[in-house]
Symmetry: C2
Subunit: 733 residues, 2 copies
């Protein structure tokens, strides 16, 4: 889903990663004082059930109330206060956690100027200001005013005061600007009004600048967020809809991680790029506005009527411009001025890391994380996730404290901030999986999970055993499959597991470190709404009251997510055999292969490139995975010794690493996983191959672009052959 790429979550991508507590094996020995679990102890279902029962919706609600009481923008005093709050909870000897710490980093953040607020105006032919967009959201609930509510801005957009005729550019994609250009619309020096969606935030400005556009405005169309509803009485606080003055903030930086320290930890002493030379910032001033203001601008445009797909729900025909129509609110040659006074600052920001040590395999970690910082109060994003992490750590810690459980593998939780890259080699060697719960509840209809194929089975296993909050009588799994499903060659109809973009804190874990990762949340019924995301996302209306009244009254969906993520966590930490089903990668590889064959094989053959080696590699993978499955089944029936189990688990854990190639995509910062890198086309297939094909398409035989296709194919084949080799019997070398 496109918004996932846009999500960003963390302020200014400051947080390269963020986790919250380290957790382990909760094998039971009840009542005993600090039991030492046996090396062959498996997941204890009673402990699991105890955890499920103890996860308390009301406690999550109270956590959320506290976490979202004040705005807590990254590096703000309130954000620092939350660092202390989390630290205190986890360092409390009663917490049951073994340790907690909060290392501090120095990251490049972007803020609007307090002295010179950003401003969007319509300027008449004589220079007079005819209209000004709001500079802050309307104070509807008493929470939208005050010094801590940061005015809407496009973080990392450069300062500047461009002024020009307005054009409407739909979602600001490459195709959108090309379409305006081919229609003969003069774009040079214009201000482009775009709506959220379709392209990443920063991409709109990148695309616009290529056509000489001088400034970009971004708004959220009621068609995309409110199912068309736009009046005050139809929206928050009267419904969950986005109010007319609501503005989505966000990071407009192209990559994830700190902008100045790519591939390095953002330590104070680390080498930093010169901000003037650092890549990834929007090239031109950009400012987000609310749809009430966007309506005044858009409904006054002159020119050709935009195509149907470009129309929205502002109640007028969207025209393309440039400039205003003579019979509207402004003189025809009025211009739009975009005054942006953002500035970059190096600020301190901390991770909070809580740890429960593993009792049997302390060098194996299950990581669970989220960011902590919000754009305003951030009740949904991210505090709904933080509220869950706190409740999970309370329940698990209490069991450990009471001696009712001691984790087999170590558990680590983390909230926000840039994770220390100095630990990356160790995390990469030892981490079993990364669980991300950022926004835990978008809406209360169904579970939504994303992840790499090996985590599908453990999420399914958890979801099958937890009751859905609604409708009564269904498991989370049964409810999920009704909302979103696919047909699997191996299993028949199953819930649809989404893929991971870079929209939250899992990004470095999967893309840079090759750790099997997942994101777990509750979300809405897509048959009932076409909202891009929950309506108050990144606005001043994302408050506790909003969650309590509209998103998840009763907090049963929060509880459902806590249970699902908690069950997955326990299964990963305590199961004797890691519940990572590597054969499920075979299904993905096969479907990617079929898509590649259908879409590219003919073209490739014309250029003398055969998919044969790729077919062979996929077959080898499937064969090795099937044999390994049989081997696991046989071992499970016997009484395997601890080393046998460990060796097998290492195969399962390390499979994902074999897909990494740091030289595959040199242009895509941090992306090293050859199966999940950004893909430009719409075909769900191997990204490197697909991107290279699409670039080579219009070039001649023997071009450098076709050589790159062959290189990408070889990289892929080597990765799959390596993956298959990792799954084969270890003694065979």
């Amino acid at each position: 889903m496109q918004w996932v790429k846009v999500l960003g979550g963390v302020v200014g991508a400051a947080a390269l990663v963020g986790l919250g507590i380290i957790l382990g094996h909760f094998a039971i020995p009840k009542g005993a004082d600090v039991p030492t679990p046996s090396v062959s102890q498996d997941l204890d279902l009673e402990t699991l059930e105890t955890v499920m029962q103890q996860l308390d919706a009301n406690k999550i609600r109270e956590n959320l109330r506290e976490l979202s009481r004040e705005p807590h923008l990254a590096s703000s005093p309130r954000d620092e206060a939350l660092v202390q709050l989390l630290l205190q909870r986890w360092q409390d000897p009663e917490s049951g956690l073994d340790s907690a710490e909060a290392p501090t980093y120095e990251v490049l953040l972007s803020f609007p100027s307090q002295e010179q607020p950003n401003l969007v105006t319509v300027v008449g032919p004589t220079g007079g200001v005819l209209f000004s967009c709001r500079q802050s959201e309307e104070n509807l609930t008493g929470e939208q005013a005050g010094p801590d509510v940061i005015p809407p801005y496009a973080a990392y957009a450069p300062p500047g005061t461009p002024q020009g005729l307005l054009v409407y550019a739909n979602r600001g994609t490459e195709e959108d600007f090309l379409s305006l250009y081919t229609q003969g619309i003069a774009l040079e020096g214009t201000i482009a009004l775009t709506r959220y969606g379709g392209a990443g935030r920063g991409a709109k400005a990148v695309n616009a600048a290529k056509y000489g556009v001088a400034g970009v405005l971004v708004y959220t169309d009621p068609a995309d967020i409110n199912d068309g509803q736009s009046s005050a009485n139809e929206t928050f606080p009267n419904s969950w809809g986005l109010p007319p003055s609501g503005v989505e903030r966000g990071s407009y930086f192209e990559y994830f991680g700190d902008p100045l320290t790519p591939y390095l930890p953002a330590n104070p002493s680390s080498f930093r790029l010169d901000p003037d030379d650092a890549p990834g910032f929007p090239p031109i001033p950009t400012q987000p506005i609310g749809f009430d203001d966007a309506k005044i601008l858009l409904c006054n445009l002159q020119g050709t009527v935009a195509p149907d797909a470009w129309q929205g729900a502002l109640g007028c025909d969207y025209k393309l411009g440039p400039g205003f129509r003579s019979d509207g609110d402004f003189p025809a040659d009025s211009q739009v001025n975009v005054s942006v006074h953002n500035r970059l600052e190096l600020r301190n920001s901390s991770n909070v890391l809580g740890i429960i040590r593993g009792a049997v395999e302390p060098d194996r970690y299950v990581l669970y994380g989220n960011h902590r910082d919000s754009w305003v109060h951030g009740a949904v994003d991210p505090s709904s996730g933080t509220a869950v992490i706190l409740e999970l750590s309370r329940v698990l810690g209490t069991l450990v404290k009471k001696g009712e459980s001691s984790p087999r593998r170590g558990l680590a939780g983390l909230t926000s901030g840039p994770h220390p890259q100095e630990f990356f080699s160790k995390l990469q060697e030892r981490t079993v999986a990364y669980i991300n719960v950022d926004i835990s509840v978008f809406a209360n209809a169904t579970l939504r999970a994303q992840g790499t194929p090996p985590v599908q089975s453990v999420i399914f296993a958890a979801a099958k055993q937890i009751p859905a909050p609604n409708p009564v009588g269904l498991s989370i799994y049964d409810n999920w499959i009704r909302h979103s499903n696919r047909s699997s060659a191996a299993y028949g109809l199953v819930p649809s597991l989404g893929t991971l973009g870079a929209g939250s804190d899992y990004a470095p874990f999967i893309h840079f470190l090759g750790i099997s990762s997942m994101d777990i949340a509750y979300t809405y019924d897509q048959s009932k709404t076409s909202a891009r995301i929950y309506p108050t996302y990144h606005t001043a209306f994302d408050t506790f009251g909003y969650v309590d009244k509209f998103v998840d009254p009763g907090f049963s969906s929060h509880q459902a997510v806590a249970r699902t993520a908690g069950s997955v966590l326990l299964r990963l930490s305590d199961s004797l055999f890691l519940p990572l089903n590597v054969s499920d990668y075979g299904e993905t590889l096969r479907s990617f292969l079929q898509a590649a064959q259908q879409n590219f094989e003919g073209l490739l053959e014309q250029h003398g490139i055969s998919l044969g080696p790729l077919v062979t590699a996929v077959e080898k993978f499937e064969g090795a995975a099937a044999a390994l499955d049989q081997h696991i089944s046989a071992l499970q029936k016997g009484s395997p010794d601890p080393l046998q189990v460990r060796m097998l688990n290492d195969q399962l854990m390390l499979l994902e690493r074999t897909f990494l190639n740091p030289r595959a995509f040199p242009e895509e910062r941090y992306y090293s996983h050859v199966l999940w890198a950004p893909r430009t086309g719409s075909v769900a297939t191997f990204p490197g191959l697909a991107n290279a094909c699409s670039r080579a398409m219009d070039t001649g035989l023997g071009s450098a672009a076709w050589a790159e296709v062959q290189r990408q194919l070889s990289i892929l084949v080597v990765a799959l052959e390596g993956a298959a080799a990792t799954l084969r019997p270890v003694a065979d070398l």
Copy 2:
């Protein structure tokens, strides 16, 4: 030592790596039929002693006789016959090996033309040929003729027929050419005569081409190889000296690995660079010649007398040229013509891989390797190593076959060819160490070992328990320390362990995969000879008779190397706790740090760059390593469970990996280890930092070169912090 960089070993760097047999834990249970060793069984000293006793000098001699019977240039019929010979030995059910295979690759090799032999001539003013250098070596022992003796050539040097005045350029380093240039010697269009040593083979042509030199000749000066002796009766077959017609062949390709498939396996289907665009080949025609021919050219030069350091042992004053003196053998304006007709060919080449499975930890491998191909007969290089591998595999395999031993960890041996990169992820995850025995005996005076610090202790332990062949009564260790020693802060006087360049098959293991590696050989007494290397290196005189009569009569040094490498192999495969001493890295880091402080600190401070974070990182490493040592000692006193041992061994095994950063040296193909990359300066310190400092030295404050210094420092600090983190208690995350 410089020659190590020049060594190359493998024809045309075709072999990215090469191993020979996979070996494991030989814990004994005597007489039992195929015993299953206990998970906590340790190295069995009786088994070790049995292996030491059974390694037979005479069998090594017989192996060498067979292996070096014919020339076996890579991909030649005889090289393929040796593939079959090795396969048959290792696939024989009586061998005791579990399996053997010979995967085939397609590598770019370089050969001289048979139809148009390369030729170096002196051409008079009227175009007549006044003198021709030999096109082959003199047939002194009946072995230097025949179709399989490849004429001397510079592999990968491009074809061409440059002709010009001759200049003498010493060793062809950057400084050498700069010195000629600053003396006003016109280099444009000349032929540069250079001697081996001082710079890599290919580097001479690279340096020359920058000054417009049109062709390069390379010869071996008797001063550098024969301690000055040069007459026929002073040299082979009358001594071990290089005969006047002897010519060192070799690869002039700049990198290691197949030139067309960087970072990919050289599979037939792999993406290949266009040879015309592939980097790393010498830019101008180059040809090696013997010193009898070099003497005629050099002793006839006119011009300034070369500096003392440029003089050699050809019996005349070396002058710089350009051109010949008028009172010599040629008219003053005679020119030298270098006709090179080399051509590139894609050829099939195989690895042979033999495996003894690990009985307790089959997913841990000790690799032992060497290349197989030679330049001519290659009795020393590489067959002296191959002869040892065959004897080791015979003894170990026989013990396994008899049920007197079964390896704890898997053992793999490999001979030559480009190793499958599709297995690299798995090898990287599972390999305990890589042992290289290429040239096993350079000479018979003393052991010579190179490696990364963790292997020092296991080599010392082995060397202390094996008698030196000579003098009687000393251990190999005691003899070694007499020949080459250093003062260690931790241990006092110890034998000097050398560092690993890229001169043999360990290169990809240490530099690309970060696997602790070593190279083991016997070598000469440096107080008695200043030879660059054994004199007949890469010539047609490197024959069985040469070894048998001059290098190691009686083969006791071969036996000593077999015992040392075999003991190291057994210790690595069978010890319960891996005998890798990670604290020994602390000593290296401390000495690198001190050198950096002494040489760069003042300069760095002038540019606002502090070594403080590096000092802290080294201290953290030392502290973590010392604590781990104590932890190991404590565990060894108790009865640790198998998982505890495994976790600790993983820390030891994976330490070396933490020093890898694939983004540290993007220009240095395959080099990712931040401590052992090529270093331009003479200070033994961190290579990335030193190289960056030397490049930045003459640039201004705030230059890009100084930013790179800071980046290299950060990369180093992150690596050392990561290494320290890997050594800290695993439960602490």
